[in-house]
């Protein structure tokens, strides 16, 4: 998801979000936003309300990027 899209109600309006695409993984997303795929736990922890396993993300999921 391109930055600038609507944030969920109650979220920090300055938080960044990303909508998962086919073929994505948390480490790939971490590399894109942080430059380091090993920082994927940061994204996992920030999305524990919708993720139970860092290896299981689905296309269309809207992840908060802290």
């Amino acid at each position: 998801m391109a930055p600038g899209q609507q944030t969920p109600t109650g979220e920090n309006p300055y938080a960044q979000f990303y909508v998962v695409k086919k073929g994505d993984s948390l480490s790939k997303i971490a590399e894109e936003f942080y430059g380091d795929k090993m920082l994927y736990p940061k994204i996992f922890e920030a999305n524990r309300d919708q993720l139970s396993d860092p290896n299981k993300i689905k296309p269309g999921q809207k992840l908060r990027i802290p």
Partner: protein, 198 residues
């Protein structure tokens, strides 16, 4: 010769009586103006310093004439003095109303900013902390931009502390100005970090 002397004495007596008749109203006029200015001096210094200076200048001139016993001139100047005091009162009322309106607008602005800016700082702090642990920065963030963002974040936090102190001290206008400055800087830092707000 005696007749002339008598006339001089009579004339002097009449003059003295005339002056005595003008002294009391002259003193009263000056006292009233002094009292009126004193009553609003503090507010005037804050809201209408130019008008205060003008009124005090007029008052000083009349007091000088009073001290010299020129009661006639004091009474002649009295309407202008009254007008200067009246203008001062109007200027104070107007300045005070403007200041109160500005404070009310700033308070409203502050209420929005005080809810918004801490979230911005929080989002930037979070990203700076995470990028600080990264072995390599993301493609869209240079080392220079990251270093600048870190420095500016500290500046934002310091200015925000000043803003909250200003508001706590009752200075909503200053608080809102500082908060706006923090938000402006924050918007730029978000861009530096590649964080377009959601």
């Amino acid at each position: 010769m005696r007749t002339v002397s008598r006339w001089i004495i009579v004339a002097a007596a009449l003059l003295a009586v005339g002056c005595a008749n003008q002294k009391e109203p002259a003193e009263k006029a000056v006292a009233a103006a002094e009292s009126a200015v004193a009553a609003i001096r503090d507010e005037a210094a804050k809201y209408a310093p130019d008008a205060l200076q003008s009124a005090e200048s007029a008052l000083a001139g009349v007091k000088d004439k009073l001290a010299k016993g020129d009661y006639k001139a004091v009474l002649a100047d009295s309407p202008q003095l009254t007008a200067a005091v009246s203008s001062l009162k109007d200027a104070v009322a107007s300045g005070k109303a403007q200041a109160e309106a500005a404070a009310a607008a700033a308070t409203e602005e502050w209420n929005t900013l005080s809810a918004d800016v801490p979230k911005m700082v929080e989002a930037i702090q979070s990203r700076v902390d995470i990028l600080g642990k990264s072995k390599k920065l993301p493609k869209n963030v240079s080392q220079e931009a990251f270093d600048s963002a870190k420095s500016r974040l500290e500046s934002m936090k310091a200015t925000w502390a000043e803003a909250t102190s200003a508001f706590a001290a009752g200075n909503a206008v200053d608080a809102a100005a500082k908060a706006n400055s923090v938000r402006q800087t924050g918007t730029e830092v978000l861009a530096q970090l590649g964080m377009t707000p959601g």
